[in-house]
Subunit: 281 residues, 2 copies
């Protein structure tokens, strides 16, 4: 089955998850399920779950925790209708002792009663809001991956999880800076406001043209490099913890939830109709 | 040592915690440590900690988790300088199997290597913001406790933690309603926007004059009852879980943190000076 791009763009989150679940769609999720929160995924054995939750709670900007499963239960009912985390992400990376050992389209046969799934907010949400406000983003205009760097900002450790904060950089016109800060601050589930702007060396980045991940982009006259806490931070923290097993989404291949990306809290089925009505305030 | 009210009001959070730690101050914390986040406390055995964190994550409006200790470690370094959770709260309630068995001024001899301490945001924060915006609150003007009710809104359960959402009610002038919603929404660490306003029976409250906790107050002509998710919710969820032991703050006797109550994230020692500068945006 071949699905056209415009057809994909017109589908809601449930329809796209259905395609993903059946294997009919296995690509990245940028721009899909418009208006719904997308999330990074980390699946860990229960023995590490409490420390990982502590790590997320203590580092909410790089690790905005939006959902957590019961142990052994692959559903994530606070994030959407009938989400099955074993099948509803387009592609998964499997790590053993910190090493990537497999990339898969589902993890049905890997799932076990000891796993806990964590969903973390991602930058797609605030990028949509910036674009909607007329702020252009070079990596999107040029179909590149945002450049990411290991900074010298330390995370607050929890158990085996620790390490530097990874930051993503977007070049912003000086005139737009305060508006960009203000807009992104409205999305605490998507890294919130920047952690730094201006001189990259102030946060330990020696060469802005040599990102640790993603593609370097230009910083034009009148632009300032703006750095946000990045969702690669928890992945780096997990990697160095050398867990016996860990499963993540493949970069760019996110879980599309049923939670509105402007929702006040990351909980599907709002607790009361009035909250629903007000949530786009 | 007798400390005058004006002297207390002029002290910062660290100075007040010092008084509390040494036993020189053992009363409620309303209005103290102005501008700093105050927090409810729950201390549980580690075996229940993961489920309790899940409960908080799934119910962020009644249970805004702002800090969590390492197991057995009484410090809470993300919340402030040298916080010792065994001594820095003015009064504690000790529960065994869901029953209150003791009220104490410190828990040094009760603390053990198996305990995890949780701090949760409280309504003081948004009430300050409402007062600062010129919105008067009857229970404060009249030195009463805000009325609280068990609603028919269910929380999302996690392990043994479950039950109805408890809500607090403040009567608000109809003209101020949208402003009140907007202001309180800015404080996700303090219950955020209301969960309901208007007809109390819509959320299962049969008699507004008979609160389950606190004091009933008048709803005058032109006023509407406005209901917020309440920090009693996690306490009720813990109580019905009949844990072998659990320690909480005594109502009104909160932990005063070093985190600004308008901070974007509940983490003391902001990750970068610029975030510090911007945090009152």
């Amino acid at each position: 089955m071949k699905i056209g791009f415009s057809e994909l763009m017109s589908m809601d989150a449930v329809e796209i998850r259905d395609l993903i679940r059946t294997g009919a769609y296995r690509s990245h999720t940028a721009g899909l399920g418009q208006g719904k929160l997308q999330a990074n995924l980390a699946i860990l054995p229960e023995a590490f779950a409490l420390d990982f939750m502590r790590f997320c709670q203590r580092n909410p900007k790089p690790c905005p925790l939006v959902g957590v499963s019961d142990t052994g239960d692959p559903t994530m009912s606070t994030l959407g209708r009938d989400i099955d985390i074993r099948t509803d992400v387009p592609a998964y990376c499997v790590y053993e002792n910190g090493e990537l050992v497999d990339i898969r389209f589902d993890i049905v046969d890997l799932w076990n009663d000891d796993f806990v799934a964590f969903a973390l907010g991602c930058s797609f949400t605030f990028e949509h809001a910036l674009l909607a406000a007329g702020i252009s983003l070079w990596h999107i205009d040029n179909n590149k991956t945002v450049p990411m760097y290991r900074s010298n900002i330390d995370t607050f450790a929890a158990g085996p999880f620790k390490g530097p904060m990874v930051v993503s950089m977007r070049a912003i016109d000086q005139d737009h800076l305060s508006r960009v800060v203000e807009i992104s601050r409205k999305f605490p589930m998507a890294h919130g406001s920047p952690v730094h702007w201006g001189d990259p060396t102030a946060i330990g980045i020696r060469d802005i043209d040599l990102p640790d991940w993603g593609n370097a982009g230009p910083i034009r006259d009148g632009q300032v490099p703006v750095f946000w806490a990045c969702g690669v931070t928890p992945h780096a923290a997990i990697e160095q913890a050398l867990l016996p097993i860990c499963i993540t989404h493949k970069p760019g291949h996110m879980l599309i939830t049923d939670v509105d990306d402007v929702a006040e809290v990351p909980v599907f089925r709002s607790i009361h109709p009035q909250t629903q009505k007000r949530k786009r305030d």
